[in-house]
Symmetry: C2
Subunit: 319 residues, 2 copies
């Protein structure tokens, strides 16, 4: 048995590879087989993380395993899907069993939180790179798309924004912060929790949804474009975590919340009447949908303070 | 729009990305959505090709696009599945529009042959690497597994073997050959045709199947192990192409056919009674299934000429 076959057997023995609901056949044959309940559709998404581009080349493999799966599973949340499983394509330099064990542990922890199984993969030699393809199920016709926002809808997000962007200088070792500031930011960066339950609750209520990966304003632009509407964001309503405010100050925290990537928090639109049916769900109304196009940012006085479009850059590609 | 968003739009415009049977939602949202007919299961497989490991760093992007999809789709053939679609995770160095256009063209050509659609993907900066995840459908319980071979079954393959291994010195520029030898070998290396129709015909007949990627003897070992049986291969019955024999001579051709990787031809077992029902299907009986374990190779006189197990190495990881 070759080195990579050994590694594949190693992953096949991980807790997350022991099958689960919807997995008819897991690792070990030419394909995995999934069962889909009648009346449901399969949701699929692929994400690649490259060392030195999407995460620092030197990092904790356990954290990396958690993050790689979380980032991909967040796309299932954005569609309102229930997670089933994932495949892992791992390109590896020469790493030892400690690295592999910790990485598989991180994967398994996140898989358990998301209730999904590792169903297949491929391991090759090369510069460290991780491609995760996730699978979920959603009742036919009920997936949350980007294209259904209607004028009059409210614009909402599922949690505080900017933490991952705020964490970046800590991740890169460029800055330090007291533990009470650093810990929540780093926890969010390395282990964002895909909002799967929120996505499922929004089915039948939200008119459009996505997960914020490029930054709030850029991603609102995606909804606006796909739906053929304008979105208005009220800066004073955008939720920012206390740790981020303490670390970056109010202005820096606001900028991170508006333009920072990697939040993996859902942004969505819904009619105001839906709020009553979503009692108990954490959501923050931050604006509204209007006729027109593009995204407008307004301050507490209602002034248009929209930054130039060129200001929105991928944080995710800058490390 | 960033460079990679442009590239993703470029792929979204490729002929293979225009949807097809079973694709409810293609590229452009957080997930793609697939429909599965009632009573069918989804088959999933992932393959990564890394430049300098699985193909030469300098090569024709059109051929690379064809090969990347063919290698992955071959796993669907091995399960007896009907192809639906694939996702593409592409890690790219700085390449120009000519490269991208030719690569997308190669993908589209193979996608058309396999009747499958590009349904999503991710593009990142880094050393050239291609991860393709393929999706197919197969009637529930009818997928061809590796584990069902029974003593008394015949061992068969779906075509001539060794061409890709024979092509390797040509691909790497280490040797030259006259066109009538080189062309069929290079065609098979760069554009192996996944045996999807054969796999589908074998449903309900074959007791075990896989696609030969590690080499005939190594892959027969996988069937033997998964099924808990012994396999006997008769060297004289192993089909070898005339071009390969002319290029490598009879001994070299035989070695390539037995141990060369990357054939992507199906190997399968079936009861002799099934042959009558498979009239018109290209298949070559090369041996039989016995009680016991492991793989035995016999010459025309019935002598055991099995090479030492250590002799089976991945051609796929040596370039």
């Amino acid at each position: 048995m070759g080195e990579f076959e050994l590694i594949n057997h190693y992953f096949a023995a991980a807790p997350c590879a022991q099958g689960g609901e919807g997995v008819a056949l897991g690792i070990g044959d030419d394909c995995a087989l999934l069962d889909l309940p009648p009346g449901e559709q399969l949701a699929v998404s692929t994400d690649t993380l490259v060392a030195g581009v999407h995460f620092p080349t030197v990092c904790e493999p356990l954290l990396l395993g958690q993050r790689a799966l979380a980032v991909a599973a967040s796309d299932l949340a954005a569609m309102g899907a229930t997670a089933i499983g994932f495949t892992l394509a791992l390109t590896l330099p020469d790493v030892g069993p400690d690295w592999l064990g910790a990485f598989a542990d991180g994967l398994s922890r996140m898989a358990q939180r998301c209730r999904m199984s590792l169903i297949g993969g491929d391991t090759t030699r090369g510069p460290l790179s991780i491609t995760v393809t996730v699978f979920g199920r959603v009742p036919a016709g009920q997936a949350l798309r980007r294209s259904g926002a209607r004028p009059g809808d409210l614009l909402c997000v599922g949690g505080t924004l900017g933490k991952a962007a705020g964490a970046l200088p800590l991740v890169l070792g460029e800055r330090e912060a007291p533990a009470e500031q650093a810990e929540p930011l780093l926890a969010h960066y390395w282990s964002p929790l895909p909002q799967l339950e929120l996505g499922q609750r929004l089915r039948g209520h939200a008119t459009a949804a996505l997960d914020i990966s490029d930054g709030l304003l850029a991603d609102c632009g995606h909804i606006a474009k796909a739906s053929g509407v304008a979105l208005e964001v009220n800066l004073a309503q955008v939720p920012v975590s206390p740790a981020l405010q303490a670390f970056l100050g109010p202005d820096g925290a606001r900028l991170a919340a508006l333009t920072g990537g990697d939040d993996y928090v859902l942004a969505f639109t819904l009619p105001a009447a839906a709020l009553a049916e979503l009692e108990g769900v954490e959501l923050h109304v931050i604006g509204r949908v209007l006729d027109g196009q593009g995204v407008t940012l307004r301050d507490a006085q209602g002034q248009d303070i929209t930054p130039a479009q060129r200001g929105y850059q991928h944080f995710r590609e800058t490390p």
